[in-house]
């Protein structure tokens, strides 16, 4: 444990460097930015899910004494800004032109002296709508008589977006045909919302004299945003500065560019004044990027004695009114191919169909790598259904089918190459920590007494750290990340990174990576991020990619600096670089350890008057761009224990055991913090979170009274364990962990509840497992109530 006297020179537990400012209330979020003369924007939103706009009258709003401007889609159209490209090769209306396609869609934008007046003025805008029938259920989106949502796309006569397949269909079908046992399960991973505590917003400040736009914005990807503004709005890229200050949670919700940002930029240019726009909670929940919404049918083929042979999954993906998912271009269903999970199969195949509906756009990776959560849920539910069919213990069934350590690197049947893994010890550890056998006994005793106790197991493998540029880009930008490291004369360092923390602890973890490589205290490394004028280019933080990609960049750039330090140390020591050896923090002469120079001495020398050899420049700095050679594959084994109230259907999560393997652990405390947060979210997803709509497309969950997120009361004391299987291709062997718990925990919890309901013959209940749904399942209802 590090103390004040013992600076951390690398990996290990260390309190987060960013926390003093947060615990003292000194964080600076977008809404804390206040500029002289700043105006306030507000968005008028559609009350209807699907309607033609007959007219928009803004004259009364413009009469409001504190209003400076009102813009509509027509105004933007004149600037060719009415439509903006999404991250998935579609377009999205910035402000609606002829029709609205989801409730909450942006229709007009008002700027006024203050936030109150802007909101008041919204009520003065008169919009005449002609309601159209809405497509709400994705299962009806492709019906021949379904209304066509996207009339703006030329020639579009249905609501189909894409079909995508992975694996070998014929081989899979063949295995299924001769399989001894086949089980199928329909399941829905419902629409949920990342719901970050800080809603989305920005302050746009266009300086007409300099021609420069400064945009403080709640973004997880400041560099990508800057490039997109340049491409879309035609502003020169060097005249755009995107600053992503402290961010109150992102979870995938803050990857895309929202209409409010674009409107703020436009009105700042029009008015010549800075414009702030911060959405409220309802706007965040009803109009910004949702997650999941996968209607799935999974099938699993196995031998009678429990060898899983093949898996087949059919998915209907609801993408809402505009295809605005954020994922690598060639991957319309993200990394859903990971649905083969952690098991050694003969064949696998999936087919995903994406459709438009009259709902908010999104489908982002809420605390998971692209669609990995859906995939892990599908396979881990199916394995339990199979265990039920075979009458085999679900932990035992998993154990029999796990990929064996000698099979790594393992090529999956859908084309991934799992970098490393040692699965069985992780599962054994989780079962041991849980006291699995004893739990099963207790369950038996309780059942005798009419009590409903359930034990759920999940084993997941993730695919994170997108990604190799040969395969992966977002709107044409390769998914690499840059880093630059400058060591000042006194040996203190500044590391510039392209990713951005929204709570993950980058300022600490990345300092520790440099500390490990250079042997200087992590306290001496300042991590700069979130400002495009001050940091190298890169694609940002989401999909667990910070440590796998940017963390690798930090290690590589520190090694470059170390190599340069060797040259300078050699000059200082009048030795040959080849004769120097490295120990943490110091180059010394082989065989003469007294003769050496610390990084601090070398830094001073590099900036001083030491005579440098030919070709070696002064200073001690380096830069790099890291292009990962493969993704990383973190994994884990989770065990959940629940109690269900037989009279009310209420679920209580009694225990949760999580064994995670994320490779090298840079700061185990931060790793554990990430796991705690993700598990809490998993409890919410499994038990209570849902974005639902009525048949007219009205969103029913527009506030935290209706969109439930878990509190400390719903989450148990987490019991964490770890195994460490480093990634062989990552410079420091780290795999990323931020999203493992959200991926692995929902199936463990659902499996536990279904296990508790075994006396009722229940095989599956769709999330969220609210008391009403659990009770309905106990009564034998298979379709969950609303």
């Amino acid at each position: 444990m590090a103390t004040a006297e013992q600076p951390v020179l690398g990996y290990g537990r260390m309190k987060r460097k960013e926390d003093p400012r947060f615990v003292r209330g000194k964080g600076r979020y977008v809404d804390d930015v206040s500029l002289p003369g700043m105006l306030h924007g507000a968005v008028l939103r559609s009350p209807l899910a699907h309607a033609r706009i007959l007219s928009i009258d803004t004259s009364a709003a413009l009469q409001h004494p504190k209003v400076h401007a009102v813009i509509t889609g027509r105004d933007l159209e004149a600037q060719k800004l009415a439509w903006a490209p999404t991250l998935s090769a579609d377009v999205q209306a910035v402000l609606a032109l002829d029709k609205v396609c989801f409730q909450g869609q942006e229709v007009a934008f008002v700027v006024a002296d203050d936030h109150y007046s802007a909101r008041d003025a919204l009520e003065l805008i008169d919009v005449e709508y002609e309601p159209l029938p809405a497509v709400v259920d994705p299962r009806k989106a492709l019906d021949p008589d379904a209304p066509v949502i996207r009339e703006d796309i030329e020639g579009k006569s249905d609501n189909h977006i894409f079909d995508w397949e992975a694996g070998d269909r014929d081989a899979t079908d063949a295995v299924f045909e001769r399989a001894e046992v086949v089980v199928a399960q329909d399941m829905i991973y419902p629409r949920i919302h990342p719901a970050p505590m800080e809603t989305c917003g920005c302050v746009a400040d266009f300086d007409a004299v300099e021609g420069k736009l400064t945009l403080w914005c709640t973004t997880q990807a400041p560099h990508a945003h800057r490039t997109l503004y340049a491409l879309v709005a035609g502003l020169p890229e060097h005249k755009i500065r995107v600053i992503s200050p402290d961010i109150g949670g992102g979870f995938g919700n803050k990857v895309g560019i929202y209409p409010g940002y674009v409107c703020s930029v436009v009105t700042s240019i029009v008015t010549g004044r800075p414009v702030k726009w911060m959405e409220d909670r309802t706007e965040n929940l009803t109009s910004t990027a949702f997650a999941r919404d996968y209607v799935m049918r999974g099938e699993i083929a196995a031998t009678r004695d429990g060898k899983i042979q093949a898996v087949r999954v059919r998915v209907l993906a609801d993408h809402g009114a505009f295809n605005a998912t954020a994922q690598p271009s060639k991957y319309p269903a993200g990394f859903f191919h990971i649905f083969t999970g952690s098991y050694d199969l003969e064949a696998a195949h999936c087919r995903v169909t994406g459709v438009y509906t009259n709902k908010a756009p999104g489908g982002v990776a809420y605390r998971c790598s692209f669609r990995v959560t859906e995939a892990a849920y599908a396979i881990e539910r199916m394995v339990d259904v199979l265990a039920d069919e075979l009458g085999v213990d679900p932990a035992e069934l998993r154990m029999r089918n796990l990929i064996r350590p000698e099979q790594f690197p393992y090529r999956s049947k859908t084309g991934w190459v799992y970098d490393s893994g040692d699965y069985e010890p992780a599962l054994r550890m989780a079962l041991e920590m849980a006291g699995y056998d004893r739990l099963r006994e207790e369950q038996g005793e309780r059942r005798e007494r009419g009590e409903l106790m359930g034990i759920g197991v999940s084993f997941f493998t993730e695919t994170v750290g997108a990604g190799p540029r040969r395969d992966m880009d977002i709107v044409g930008l390769g998914m690499a990340d840059g880093a630059d490291l400058r060591v000042h004369p006194t040996g203190k360092a500044v590391l510039g990174i392209s990713v951005q923390t929204q709570g993950q602890g980058h300022e600490t973890t990345f300092a520790q990576i440099v500390a490990e490589e250079l042997g200087i205290p992590a306290e001496d490394v300042q991590v700069v991020h979130g400002d495009t004028d001050e940091t190298p280019f890169g694609l940002g933080t989401y999909g667990s990619r910070s440590t796998p990609v940017s963390g690798a960049a930090a290690a590589v750039v520190a090694r470059k600096v170390r190599e340069k330090a060797r040259l300078i140390a050699a000059a200082m020591l009048e030795a040959s670089p080849a004769d120097l050896e490295w120990e943490k923090g110091r180059w010394y002469v082989k065989g003469d350890p007294e003769q050496g120079k610390t990084i601090q001495e070398i830094a001073m020398g590099a900036h001083g008057t030491v005579e440098l050899p030919e070709g070696v420049e002064g200073g001690l700095e380096a830069q790099t761009v890291y292009n990962p050679s493969n993704l990383t594959f973190p994994f884990g084994a989770y065990v959940c224990v629940v109690d269900v109230d037989p009279g009310t259907g209420q679920v209580k999560v009694r225990r949760f055991v999580a064994v995670d393997d994320c490779g090298t652990r840079i700061n185990p405390m931060i790793v554990e913090g990430q796991i705690h947060g993700g598990l809490a979210e998993g409890v919410g997803i499994a038990l209570m979170e849902l974005i639902a709509f009525d048949e007219d497309g009205n969103c029913l969950n527009g506030s935290f009274m209706d969109y439930l997120i878990p509190t400390a009361k719903e989450v148990p004391n987490f019991e964490l364990g770890a195994t460490v299987t480093p990634s062989p291709h990552h410079p420091i062997g780290a795999k990323g962990v931020g999203e493992s718990p959200t991926v692995g925990s929902p199936p463990a919890i659902v499996n536990a509840v279904i296990d508790a309901l075994e006396p009722f013959g229940v095989r599956h209940v769709d999330m969220p497992l609210t008391p009403a749904r659990v009770w309905a399942a106990m009564q034998g209802h298979t379709e969950p109530p609303a």
Binding site: T648, M705, T711, T770, P771, W775, A786
Partner: protein, 288 residues
Amino acid sequence: MQVPAPFDYERATSVEHALSLLERLGPEARLIAGGHSLLPMMKLRLAAPEHLVDINDLHELDYIREEAGELRIGALARHRELLESELLGRRFPIFHDAERVIADPLVRNRGTIGGALCQADPSEDLSAACAAAHARLVIRGLGGERVVEMADFHRGPYETAVGPSEILAEIRLPLREAAGSAYEKVERRTGDWAVAAAGVCVWMSDGAIADVGVGLAAVGSSAVHCARAEEVLRGERPSEELFDAAADLAAADCSPAADQRGPVEYKRHLAGELTRRALRRAVARALG
């Protein structure tokens, strides 16, 4: 940030002052107590009063005391004060049961019993508890005060017997011996409004239930007072069969609506199940 429509604001210094302000400002004026029901509605612009009359300085309405054979609670007593009152917890544990599951500490620090009852939300917990306790309510106007039975207080969802220029001043709970009470609630998550809830007060005599009150929340257009369930219980010796009979009547007599908290069938089931559970605990407490 959600912001309300423009409004004017007055701060009352006495009950008389509040009443005269209401009289003068007319029907577009609203009292504000803890603000935990009214302000959210204003921020969502579901309510847009022109004037707010703040009664938070009226400490004369902030008390919990025993007087004239009744437990008297001032309308401005906060949820938190109810929860922390030893007197209330001893005489009517139903209120402590209920307060533990109302909202969260932030809401309980500010929200008042008067505001809760006057909001008359069908899911509101204190109304069900008050119905079970056979509470009587003191309403004051400029012309004087009147006392209303809980059964006559709610006129429908979000409607009460309190007139436009009146104020709810006090809640009176009759004190009787051998009392026991309990509150049971199913919520989807801590701090959520009830899916359904049931409150029961019993007063025992010679091992039988001399009198009883059963109130339900979230299963009707306002807090439900279960007259038929009370009737089968009154004068009978407690038993599981008796509780089942009362529970069945409670379930039969409520009229829940389907929403995201659950379908009608489930809520009706809960009304029965929670009535049974509350009865068991209330009787055990009375006998204990």
